[in-house]
């Protein structure tokens, strides 16, 4: 069905494109006398494509010219630190891995990877709200480090050189106009598009290296010495007997020999890109073509991503009253993933014997790498999106109809040989797609009451259909390491039809899932303008979502904003102010559930597994169905949540526009969200989903742009800073509950939803005499060598009641500082980004110190990566507790491992020279508009108190596990040619 849809779309679009060529010819011959008028209309086309009003000022947009000088791969990397109110998380330096953007605070929880999906803003590419991967695949996963499939960051599809503008939309009215997709805010990307005039060609390229970091490697001697004090202080004979086997023999060169793995693991790797854009055509029909190829490399573990991006856009004006425009963007992302043990075991859901970790010795590690060469690991995402817009203008009425679509498909074929998994080969195959088709129709009418008063009316309707699907199979134990395919008997009549065990010897587990989600919207809006002084916008919309329960699928929501030009009314003759605006708005939109379960009410699913084995298919030979005891009860009466925003902005420019500043205050309430409340376990359910969780985000944003010096012949310096403050607060929980424990986390009304919930550590009990009589930890008597945890309620028992809400996963302050210094044809740019006030749990150190439990657990947390054979400069020292104690002294849920993860980074420095302006170049008669040569250095240094490698590498849930790859320091040399 999808393929057919996509085909149909292609046909339609192709037919438009074909006819356009003819049209271009005809009109160029006959209608040149109209060209002035047509140019006017042409601008209108571009406006309509973007289909939202242009945003004022510089406060909400990325400086594309600067951003294009950095070899960023993804949208998230481009906007990081460059948009006020947007916090970007890049927890992994591996190219193409998923990243997160949070606009004006988190609207939901942050405890699992799955939660992050529900916080992401909508990303619009030329008006197409891009469809993201649906987190429902996590339902069949045991570990949530990576989503099954290619797990590629789909927002890596766009090349910065094809982008005209990137803005973040936070205004309540604008967001309401975009509808429920944009409940978390929106990032609006407009690509460079077709335009008439002289043919315009641009060629851009860069080449450079990601560089290997310097590391302090260690071997078994270090590890052995690290463990000695624990054993000297606490170990019994039995504990000694259980000493890690790989460290027992100090003559074993695998662990006690040279530790030189780093040269094989970290490598200087080339990273490069080239692209070509051509824009041209006549006034009544014009086009843009853009093609690019990029290799984005990581500096560790041989990771990279290849991107191929093609774009074609066209505008036509077959009649004066009709404009047709279309753009198609397509990309292919091939991701070359890491060889980390953890990611592999998580995918394989199979933890082999971990008692002997990888050796730090290069010769032995090379043996491991040689085996990984037998792997098959194809990760391909293919993306096709675009739009077709028809706009008819008849007198004062404009009717616009547009078809928007986004289809992306992910394929992963994975094979690992038996030599990497204790004699068992492994295959997994994934095919999945996400599809969105959106049809917008609207009619706009401009009504001029008189010269001073104008009202623009608009009526619109849209339908959006989303489909998410995947097929996934994992299989074990093929006949040998050469058979990397899962064969089946395809003949229905044969006994072993589809029996892989009989046909190829693989033992297969299969998963399929599919989910649809439709959204239908109607809206009416009006814009009233009084002279240039006041504009007031208002919208009323009615949306229906199929993911709501039948009695609450349709919701009507209003929004409005107003803008008062103070300068125009009061300060017309003021010299200081060049502009002064006060604007504000309020709006409400409905929020769509990402999962269709909530629509169904009481339901039955196939859920009979347990924590360690979450996907048991059934009993006997049949698939069983039962109530969702594991995931939680869903009853009737669940309402769709809404998102309310209030915004107030004052912006001004002074001193002949040399300084502009904007201050925004916002208040955001995400109300009536659904959450699983704990219920008495005696009915079998883990939770009961109820509506009623309200989360509030308040904040302030400040943007200042200034031209510090501007001597046209010598130095000029422009600087821009954005600074945002956010405060997150849980306002209410369903049914008036004031606090709620969710596994290792707690929610408390009045506190931030991102708080940690921890025991307070105050040192160590060195002797039994120091311990208060009868003090227990959850009933276990505290012994000498155990941590001194604060007994807040004084009941002589350390338990959940003594855990306190402390620290926040998300930063209070984020922002960035951009500078451009230019001298003649040279310019120097540098970009500093920062995030302050967030905390993280250093799980890596907790595991290292709690080695006894970590190693004997033989769980995914016991996996020791090759990169753990190093020490960090700013590593912390922790007390020597009894690692054998039943209280689990190095547990992660204590503030011992809570650290300040604030950071500031010099993210990029660029030095460039524009030959296009150089005299010798001009003299030669070249008509280059721009010939810019530049060098860029990325990620030069970080200022942080964080004791791990990089405070950015903290997982979404606030835990730093040290397993993610480093964000590399990158150096590139590039040029930008505009002909």
């Amino acid at each position: 069905m999808i393929r057919i849809n996509a085909c149909a779309l292609c046909t339609v679009l192709l037919s438009v494109l074909c006819s356009s060529k003819v049209a271009a010819k005809v009109y160029q011959d006959t209608l040149h006398q109209d060209s002035v008028k047509l140019k006017q209309i042409d601008k209108n086309i571009a406006k309509k494509i973007s289909s939202i009003p242009k945003l004022k000022g510089t406060r909400d947009t990325v400086n594309i010219k600067l951003a294009a000088l950095s070899p960023n791969l993804s949208l998230q990397q481009i906007v990081k630190g460059n948009l006020a109110g947007v916090f970007v998380q890049e927890p992994n330096g591996e190219p193409g891995t998923e990243q997160s953007m949070i606009v004006q605070g988190a609207s939901g929880l942050l405890f699992n990877k799955k939660d992050i999906y529900a916080l992401q803003p909508a990303v619009y590419l030329n008006g197409v709200p891009l469809v993201q991967d649906n987190p429902f695949a996590f339902d069949v996963q045991k570990y949530d480090y990576n989503r099954i499939g290619p797990a590629t960051n789909l927002l890596a599809q766009i090349d910065i050189d094809n982008i005209e503008s990137i803005s973040v939309i936070k205004d309540p009215y604008e967001l309401a106009k975009l509808g429920p997709n944009a409940a978390n805010g929106a990032i609006y990307i407009t690509t460079k598009n077709a335009k008439g005039g002289l043919t315009d060609i641009s060629l851009n390229s860069y080449f450079g290296f990601v560089t290997a970091p310097k590391v302090n490697t260690v071997n078994g001697v270090y590890e052995n010495n690290f463990r000695k004090p624990f054993y000297a202080k606490y170990a019994s004979a039995e504990n000694y007997a259980g000493y890690a086997s790989y460290l027992k023999d100090s003559t074993n060169t695998a662990y006690y020999g040279p530790s030189n793995w780093n040269d094989l693991y970290y490598q200087n790797t080339p990273t490069y890109s080239v692209n070509l854009g051509i824009t041209g055509g006549g006034d009544r029909a014009n086009f843009r073509f853009f093609g690019s190829g990029t290799k984005n490399a990581g500096n560790a573990d041989h990771t990279s991503l290849n991107r191929y991006n093609l774009f074609f856009g066209i505008n036509m004006l077959p009649f004066k009253w009709l404009t047709v425009s279309s753009a198609i963007n397509t990309a292919r992302l091939d991701r070359f993933r890491n060889n980390s043990l953890r990611d592999r075991f998580a995918e394989q859901r199979y933890i082999p014997d971990l008692s002997n970790p990888l050796s730090p010795n290069a010769a032995i590690y090379q043996g491991f790498l040689n085996e990984t060469k037998k792997n098959v690991d194809n990760n391909r995402s293919t993306i096709l999106n675009g739009n077709l817009t028809l706009a008819a203008k008849i007198n004062k009425l404009t009717i616009t109809s547009s078809l928007l679509f986004d289809y992306n498909e992910g394929i992963r074929d994975y094979f690992t040989p038996s030599t990497l998994l204790d004699g068992v080969s492994y295959i997994s195959n994934y095919f999945g797609y996400s599809q969105r088709i959106l049809l917008n129709n609207n009619a706009a009418y401009k009504y001029e009451i008189n010269e001073d008063h104008t009202v623009d009316f608009e009526l619109g309707q849209s339908f959006q259909g989303d489909t998410y699907k995947y097929n996934y199979a994992r299989a074990y134990n093929g006949p040998n390491d050469f058979v990397k395919l899962n064969k089946v008997q395809g003949d229905v009549l044969k006994d072993d039809y589809l029996n892989t065990l009989a046909a190829s010897g693989f033992y297969v587990f299969r998963y399929i899932d599919k989910e649809r989600n439709n959204l239908m919207s109607f809206y009416g809006s009006a814009k009233y303008s009084y002279k240039k002084i006041l504009t007031v916008n208002a919208i009323l919309r009615r949306d229906g979502t199929s993911n709501g329960q039948p009695d609450s699928r349709w919701v009507t929501t209003p929004a409005f904003n107003a803008d008062w030009d103070i300068k125009e009314q009061l300060l017309k003759n003021n010299e200081t102010f060049n502009s002064l605006h006060l604007s504000g708005g309020w709006g409400r939109v409905l929020r769509i559930f990402l999962d269709d379960r909530f629509a169904a009410g009481p339901q039955y699913r196939s859920e009979s597994g347990w924590y360690e084995e979450p996907t048991i298919p059934g009993y006997g030979s049949a698939l069983g169905i039962n109530r969702p005891y594991e995931s939680g009860f869903i009853g009737y009466g669940i309402k769709v949540p809404t998102s309310d925003r209030t915004n107030l902005t004052l912006n001004a420019s002074f001193f002949k526009n040399r300084l502009s500043a904007a201050v925004t205050a916002y208040n955001r309430n995400d109300n009536n969200q659904i959450i699983g409340l704990p219920v008495p376990f005696e009915l079998g359910y883990s939770a009961n989903y109820k509506s009623g969780m309200n989360i509030n985000n308040k904040g302030l944003e400040l943007v200042v742009n200034g031209l510090v010096t501007d001597q046209s012949k010598s130095l000029s310096w422009t600087t821009g800073i954005n600074f945002s403050y956010n405060q997150n607060k849980l306002k209410a929980l369903p049914g008036g509950v004031t606090e709620l424990i969710l596994n290792d986390n707690k929610l408390e009304v009045g506190k931030s939803a991102g708080s940690f919930w921890l025991y307070t550590n105050q040192g160590i009990y060195n002797t039994n005499a120091e311990i208060p009589e009868g003090l227990t930890f959850n009933g276990i008597p505290i012994q000498a060598g155990d941590p001194k945890w604060v007994d807040y309620n004084g009941d002589n028992r350390i338990d959940n009641k003594d855990k306190v809400m402390t620290g926040d996963r998300l930063p209070k302050y984020v922002g960035g500082w951009n500078n451009t210094l230019s001298y003649k044809n040279f310019d120097l740019n540098f970009n500093v980004i920062f995030a302050l006030g967030q905390k993280a749990i250093n799980q890596y150190e907790a595991n290292r110190y709690g080695f006894v439990n970590a190693e004997t657990g033989n769980s995914i947390n016991s996996v020791k990566e090759i990169s753990s054979w190093q020490i960090f400069d700013n590593g912390k020292n922790y007390p020597i507790y009894n690692p054998f104690s039943p209280v689990d002294a190095y547990r992660v849920d204590q503030d011992l491992f809570l650290e300040d993860a604030s950071y500031a980074k010099l993210r990029s420095v660029t030095l460039g020279y524009d030959f296009g302006k150089a005299k010798f170049f001009k003299k030669s008669g070249s008509n280059l508009r721009r010939a810019y040569l530049y060098v860029t250095a990325m990620n030069l240094f970080t200022i942080s108190k964080f004791s791990g490698l990089d405070p950015e590498l903290i997982n979404y849930n606030g835990y730093y596990d040290g397993a993610n790859l480093t964000i590399p320091r990158t150096f590139v040399l590039g040029f930008k040619l505009d002909l």
């Binding site: 989910e515 009993y619 069983g624 004997t856």
Partner: protein
Amino acid sequence: MNYTINKRNSLYKVSIGIIVLLIGFGNFSCKKIDNLQSNRLATETTNWKTLEDAKANLLSIYGLMRSASVSDNGHWLMGDLRQGDFQITNRADLKAIVNGQLNASYPVINRITNWRRFYAAINAASLYIERSGEILKLDPRYTELNNRVDIAQARMIRAFAYFYMSRIWGDVPLVTSSHDGDFVQLSRTSQDKVLAFATNELLAAGQVVPFRYGGTDPILPGLYHSNSWTGWNGILFTRLSCYAMLAHIAAWQGNYLDAANYAKFVLENQATQNKDGSFGLAYLDMASLTENSSNSPFAFKRATLIVGFPFEAGNGLLTANGHLEQLTLASPFIPKTQPEMFVPKDTINKVFTDPFDLRFGIDPVTRSYRTNYFYNYQSEQPIFNKVKAIYTGQTASNVALFSSSMVFSRLEEISLLRAEALAVLGDREGAITALNQATNLRGVTYLSSSKVPVIDAIFAERRRELMGEGWRWYDIIRYNKIKNSNNIFANKNGVAMTFKQFEAAGGIYWPVSQDVINANPSITQNPYWN
């Protein structure tokens, strides 16, 4: 010029065509929102409609109960470790259990002390008892008899869950209806009440369920849920399963008269299983006990599994967790250097006293130690390899996924229970007969001239035969209740306790996870663990 006009006309048509097409796409109907149904789940409007729903919902109750018993290897962690025969190599959480620190702070201990998993099975059973009758009116293929038998199974599973839980926690809340969507707060019900409920439910179900499903049993002849007895044996609870459970509840309560009778019923009706093409119910020879020979209740679904739950490799049910093998096996059976637990040599020597014992003794031909139970006996860590259904039923494989069943009761076990009951009731001869019936294929015999009290011999035999089947701790309790001795049984915080004191203090039961108490403040912690 004409040419141009024609082109304009055709373009006009194309444009109009596109507009029509777009509007065609844009169906204004709200049905796309209001009528969209999820196809990844069943709802109240789609479930409880057909015969297939009856089957899918019924089997799920079994599935939930299976998961409840084996999740996190709980069946063995709770049954075999406390004062048991196993020694832990490394895992601190398992060591804590062996040392009796059942409230130690480890994730696994926290999960196994959470009883929600059993209540999931109980709730599913209650829901089935309440709702499955709805299908009768809607699907003529679903007969009253079929429904009665299905409901009887739901009752049996629910009763089994209650018995299983009260062995672990003593008093547990008794919930006998689904309270669908109404989350009531219940407190603990006395164990006597819970077990009385379970007994009554089982007695009622025992009047309904057949000996064989899908075969020629006159109680329920013909295919059962479109499958025959060869498909169902070892999967579903039969009338024998029912009486085996009854016998156990009675024995746990010290009601040995009933226990003897119920066990007798099972033994006397052994032959009922041996028809309609199944492998039948028989005493296991050594090959079936430890080498996955054809009658093995561990490796396959067989009628020899009187009470238990299989994990069939052929149905995609291989798992890593949920099997004894994950705890006890290592190289050369699976690629693992060290097992997580093993039976130390001293214990082996103490338990297996008869050199002619086929489970562990000396092979007169090769003059070496038998390896059926213990591999590499001479080493520091002999590998307990009695149960080894690895991958698709192999005794050794690189694939450390297992297909062994959770075995609660088999013929040897129920014979030993009858022997125990008769011994307590004073029927020494009967007890010896039952004991020797159980050991007949093990190379050991109890002579009536033996100086070892028969009750001790029976429990010693249970220790040998049922090693690693999750019985040890419960056997120790029953044995001590019978013996009623004043010897020191346990130590709590340095205070020595006799078994009676220990039992009275609630020490024989596990603490309940703090999560359970957080979720329902009406639940009190077991006083011993306060």
